[in-house]
Symmetry: C2
Subunit: 184 residues, 2 copies
């Protein structure tokens, strides 16, 4: 949903109060995210849990759900943002910062019903153009995952296809395995 169309700067946008669901700032427009539903919630949590289980103990990377990342003039909130350990912004005492003004290393979006795939892909391409190494667009309805590689190369994967993982994270996943997280 587009809330406002009048030009605003990123700095002005970031001073506005947060909304629920959160709003993103894309090409000078404020767009509110859809209200997350069951499949979205489950995939989002489980993905973070699976990544953090292998990446956190060894201080390789950390996955964050619903984290605002402001860079390249836009402020996006990927459903999941994964940052390599050394890129996580911290205070001098080692506390995780509140404001992330850098691109994620791996960004993951989960398509909600009725959400425009174009607009979601646009966020992943924005990340890719600004240095994000890997993007996933998870489409539950189609049981497919569109992968965004460097230079905005894309590949659609289904079924038993092995998914590309951010390098350094010791994880092996097929598309089927990701969607099996939805089964009780």
């Amino acid at each position: 949903m587009t809330i406002a169309t009048q030009p605003l700067t990123l700095e002005q946008f970031l001073k506005l109060p947060e909304t629920k669901p959160a709003s993103e700032f894309i090409k000078t427009k404020i767009v509110q995210k859809p209200m997350p539903q069951g499949k979205h919630s489950r995939l989002q949590f489980k993905f973070c849990a699976v990544v953090n289980e292998v990446a956190e103990p060894q201080k390789i990377a950390m996955a964050f759900p619903e984290l605002r990342c402001s860079f390249g003039g836009d402020s996006v909130i990927p459903d999941i943002s994964v940052f390599r350990w050394e890129r996580i912004p911290v205070s001098p005492s080692g506390i995780i910062a509140n404001r992330f003004e850098i691109h994620p290393d791996w960004s993951i979006e989960i398509l909600s019903p009725d959400q425009s795939q174009t607009k979601v892909l646009e966020r992943l391409l924005h990340c890719s153009e600004h240095g994000t190494e890997l993007g996933w667009l998870i489409e539950p309805k189609d049981e497919s995952i569109l992968v965004v590689f460097p230079e905005q190369r894309v590949k659609l994967l289904r079924g038993t296809a092995q998914l590309p993982i951010l390098s350094g994270i010791a994880l092996e996943l097929t598309v089927e395995q990701v969607f099996s997280w939805l089964k009780l």
Copy 2:
């Protein structure tokens, strides 16, 4: 809509009677195209007219609406297929063939309401992987065009952005101009 799921070969599929709307054969599955509506019909015709106006007199290329192209184990029917002149299959007497068993040089899909963008993008990626130089995914609802470049690189264009055209065709088009074809 998926009509049948039992494995079939491309040759077996091509022997089946044509349906209306036409059916495509993708990864051993038969999928019927959506019934074209107003915007789709207009963009499809106008695109062919604009390309053929500049490309046909000089024998550079020809645009075909709803042409079945069978290659790489699939049989797809892009909304528009553009072939360079020398690649158009013809009989010894110079008559255009009925069966096109080659990839188009430029394939264009127009998203219909409720059509899965993933599935449409999958057809364009199939073309790209088999040698199609350029793909366009026109999304009327969003007034955007997702361009597929060689090696499956993608870029989303809107507004006054200049669109990439198949090399050799003397045409300049912005995204806005394409959608202006819908205005009476």
